[in-house]
């Protein structure tokens, strides 16, 4: 499944970069994130609760940030498994300064799911992913904007 979306965050690019790559801040912004622990080398161990179409599961796996080009681009790699199957994805993040204190973040990636979630939820995984990403950026925006004010 393809993931492609654009988001606007009301903060300058360096600040957005900081928020998108900081484990503590990320864990506050990823919906359902129960744990995100840095293990070094841009890799994190993650525990994330996911519920789609009445199918709920807790994914355990790794999140890895690669091709880091601060503050403009990086690649996010996700791999996890749960009782409702596995997921595996790679997504390129591109940060562009739109205006002073406003950053455009473009996402372009692929997500593969397997197991029960694929069998029963596939039809709505696309919209569920979109919603989750939307929630994520809403939260990032909130935190980044709050920081600017302070």
């Amino acid at each position: 499944m393809q993931i492609k979306s654009d988001h606007t965050v009301s903060a300058n690019r360096e600040r957005v970069w900081e928020h998108l790559t900081d484990a503590e801040l990320l864990s506050q912004c990823i919906p359902g994130c129960e744990e995100l622990k840095a293990t070094g080398g841009g890799t994190y161990e993650a525990t994330i609760k996911v519920g789609v179409a009445g199918i709920k599961g807790t994914y355990k796996g790794t999140v890895r940030l690669e091709n880091m080009q601060p503050p403009s681009a990086y690649r996010l790699m996700v791999e996890g498994k749960s009782t409702i199957g596995f997921l595996k994805g790679a997504c390129d993040f591109r940060l562009e300064e739109a205006k002073p204190d406003e950053t455009k973040v473009g996402l372009n990636g692929e997500l593969a799911v397997g197991g029960k979630l694929a069998r029963v939820g596939q039809r709505i995984i696309g919209s569920a992913a979109k919603m989750t990403i939307g929630q994520f950026f809403k939260q990032i925006n909130k935190l980044a904007a709050t920081d600017t004010d302070s």
């Binding site: 498994k81 009782t83 199957g85 596995f86 593969a112 799911v113 397997g114 197991g115 029960k116 694929a118 069998r119 029963v120 596939q122 039809r123």
Partner: protein, 778 residues
């Protein structure tokens, strides 16, 4: 023995199904209704990956869950549970090892990896979540065309490629026929993968009694006798100590004509734990791990003359086996191969059938099994040829039908059609719809911008499976008739009906022969302990083979009864009549003995004629001399909205010739259900896997089977051309509706859209596809 038969009252009569009262009142017992003392429950952990190496399996946490009794993996049962068998015998067939639980590699999503036994079904389910499996993902093979490319990932390293077998045919002079053809039509067909979805899912309950050494297995199966034999081999148990019972079975459509890993594992666990163990399939397991149907890609060329004569057929048939062979997987497309000419005389045929492994669930028999694919190909090709020639689809069919006096007719594919009168059934269908007027109306509507389509399919199929030489595992059937001391009649049959209604039709056959009430007859089936020999119900065979065995056994007992009755009446055997529960000399009904009196005499055994043994029981094994070849003509009328692509199915007429009819209600019921399933394929259903081998249509939210509002009112008619290959003259009708209806509907929609230049549409013909076909053609 001369004329003993009373007037025929029941054969051919529309007797209501005797099975139905218990079914509609909820008084039936399916596997899940059977509960044994200290019964344990089994669940299966299944692969989430379509193709992966198993690096490790950690079952410790599951084993420690309170209530869990046992957790086993593939390694635990190596050497204890044999490889799941494939009965197909095809030259050069590659048969991979098929462990009941995967050992080091998984090859499709849903493949069982571990089994849990617990005291409670929910604990058994929860324990699955505690099993940790580490996989090494491998590239997947999902597309038929790609799988046979030389650079494809190979699913079985030991085979070198993904080709399970190839089967060529070169009959007549195909190259010359194509060279001399006036026209050649070519088409690629996708016969999409279907999921059988019987209402009752699969289920197994097994109990082992260590003292007696007996294993009893209740399974929702179509083939209890095969299952008994195979389980005894897989578990190395003496066959005579294994009993398989198929209780009420809620549909199968071929999907329960099989031996599954779960049956072997549950039976093994029951013997190992010495406790009853039950597994009931979840609907989502049914979608992924009960066999699928169809799944072919066919490349076809047809050579025709200007007058409509079909001179040659050439085809490459790619058949998707899935990842493993189940019981008959490779056999199914062979039926496509054999039936390629359909209802037409085509003497030049060149075929290449290729069975292909992919990382998907195995395909196997699903209602029609190989013949819907053949019928789709030939019926679509005939219409394509007619379209090219500017000929009416009716004319090209009449042009190529064999004449009724040409039967038995040897076909270029090697089969011999038993009997037929294709003109008769087709004419009846044409008359029923008033074909000529329909075409006029179609032209009128077209001038108003409305698109009526008239679809025709004239089919011939192969069933009544069949002579043993042509049926893996044997094609005979056995039936026993026993007249009890009280004159009640017990029929024991080796066929295993699960919706077909033989408890009714077999009783009709016996009641007529004996001149007794149908209420005095009970038909027992589906229990290897009571009817120790049999093959089962599939391939529209139960009446053609099992019914044939029954009529012969019935007559054997009747002959003995007549001897005893003649002795009692001091009359001549040849003069006796069986009527209304009495046996008497023709013309002298007043001095009769009752059927029950004769039965009692046979059992009391003090007044028997010399050389007559006590008791009244006979078993007959019937071996048919050939398959049967039902045929018929279906016509459907649709109107298509070119703006939305929606199809309005306005009328469906089916004329089926299944030989003699025992019970017209049962026949019509079979035709109705068959058409509904063919319509499902034509318009709604399709199993879709993504490029990673994940089944995307894994629930009824995404896999559309037709609802009651989506099927039309069926108009059924029949012609009767008896089969010469069995004493009842019957052919079989379980699959005909499915076989004819999908091409009939596609032909109707293509006919409706021919003004746009549409020549073919892939199934299922969803509104989107129909609309797209119109756009693409313009």
């Amino acid at each position: 023995m001369a004329t003993m038969a009373g007037p025929s009252r029941l054969i051919g009569a529309p007797i209501k199904r005797r099975e139905d009262p218990r079914l509609v009142q909820g008084l039936s017992h399916y596997v899940d209704d059977i509960k044994l003392v200290n019964m344990h429950h089994c669940t299966f952990l299944r692969s989430d990956y379509a193709h992966a190496d198993i690096k490790s399996i950690d079952t410790e946490a599951a084993e420690n869950l309170s209530g869990v009794v046992k957790v086993i993996t593939g390694v635990d049962i190596q050497g204890k549970v044999g490889s799941i068998p494939c009965a197909a015998e095809i030259e050069g067939l590659k048969v991979p090892d098929h462990p009941a639980l995967a050992v080091d590699r998984v090859r499709f999503v849903g493949e069982p990896i571990a089994a849990v036994v617990a005291t409670d079904p929910y604990v058994a389910r929860d324990a699955l979540d505690l099993i940790e499996v580490e996989y090494d993902e491998l590239p997947t093979v999902v597309d038929l065309d790609d799988a046979i490319e030389s650079d494809s990932t190979v699913i079985y390293d030991e085979f070198g490629d993904n080709i399970a077998f190839t089967m060529p045919l070169d009959a007549g002079d195909v190259d010359a026929a194509f060279a001399e053809a006036d026209h050649v039509v070519s088409q690629r067909f996708v016969n999409q993968r279907l999921i059988p979805n019987s209402i009752e899912p699969r289920g197994v309950l097994a109990e082992y009694l260590p003292g007696e050494g007996t294993l009893t297995v209740w399974s929702s199966t179509q083939v209890p006798h095969h299952l008994k034999t195979i389980l005894s081999l897989l578990l190395d148990l003496p066959e005579q100590l294994v009993r398989v019972i198929a209780p009420e079975v809620g549909g199968g459509f071929g999907s329960k004509l099989n031996v599954y890993p779960e049956e072997a594992v549950v039976a093994y666990l029951a013997t190992e734990l010495r406790k009853p163990v039950k597994w009931i399939e979840k609907r989502s397991e049914g979608f992924t791990t009960t066999i699928h149907g169809r799944d072919q890609v066919d490349y076809v060329d047809m050579a025709v003359k200007n007058d409509g004569t079909i001179t040659a057929l050439r085809a490459k048939l790619l058949a998707n086996m899935g990842a493993y062979h189940q019981l008959l997987t490779p056999i199914i497309p062979v039926l496509t191969y054999l039936m390629m000419p359909g209802a037409y005389k085509i003497s030049n045929i060149k075929l290449e059938l290729i069975g292909v492994f992919t990382n998907k669930m195995a395909t196997d028999a699903y209602r029609g099994a190989g013949r819907p694919e053949a019928t789709h190909i030939i019926e679509r090709m005939v219409d394509l040829a007619a379209q090219k020639l500017g000929m009416d689809p009716k004319e090209i069919r009449f042009k190529n039908f064999p004449q009724p006096d040409e039967f038995p007719l040897e076909m270029a594919t090697g089969v011999t059609y038993d009997s037929g009168n294709y003109q008769m059934s087709f004419n009846k269908a044409l008359d029923t719809v008033d074909y000529a007027n329909l075409r006029t109306r179609q032209a009128e509507l077209r001038s108003q911008g409305r698109y009526l389509g008239i679809g025709v399919a004239t089919y011939a199929e192969i069933c009544g499976m069949g002579p043993s030489v042509g049926v893996a595992g044997g094609g005979w059937e056995s039936s026993t008739v026993r007249i009890e001391r009280t004159g009640k009649v017990t029929v024991l049959t080796g066929v295993s009906p699960h919706g077909q209604g033989q408890e009714t039709s077999f009783a009709q056959i016996v009641a007529d022969e004996y001149g007794i009430s149908i209420d005095d007859i009970v038909v027992i089936h589906g229990d290897t302990g009571r009817q120790p020999q049999g093959i089962g119900t599939f391939g529209s065979r139960a009446t053609a083979v099992g019914g044939a065995a029954l009529i012969i056994a019935t007559q054997q007992v009747k002959e003995k009864m007549a001897q005893i009755a003649a002795h009692m009446l001091e009359a001549n055997v040849d003069d006796l009549v069986f009527e209304d529960g009495n046996i008497f000399v023709q013309g002298s009904p007043d001095s009769a003995v009752t059927f029950a009196d004769v039965a009692a005499t046979a059992h009391v055994a003090v007044n028997l004629p010399p050389d007559v043994e006590p008791g009244l029981e006979a078993t007959h094994f019937f071996e048919p001399s050939n398959f049967t070849y039902p045929f018929g003509a279906h016509i459907s009328i649709v109107e298509v909205d070119p703006e939305t692509g929606e199809i309005d199915l306005q009328r469906y007429v089916a004329v089926d010739d299944c030989g003699n009819i025992i019970n017209p209600l049962l026949v019509d019921g079979q035709v109705h259900g068959g058409i509904a399933q063919g319509l499902g394929q034509a318009m709604y259903e399709g199993a879709v896997y993504d490029e990673n081998g994940q089944l995307l249509t894994g629930s009824f939210m995404d896999y559309a089977i037709p609802k009651a509002t989506q099927v039309p009112r069926f108009e059924t008619e029949h012609t009767t051309t008896p089969s010469p290959v069995n004493p009842l003259g019957v052919k079989g009708v379980g699959e005909a509706g499915t076989i004819a209806s999908s091409p009939c509907l596609v032909n109707a929609v293509v006919d409706a859209l021919s003004p746009f230049g549409v020549t073919d549409i892939d199934m299922p013909m969803t509104p989107n596809r129909v609309w797209q076909a119109i756009q693409d053609a313009q």
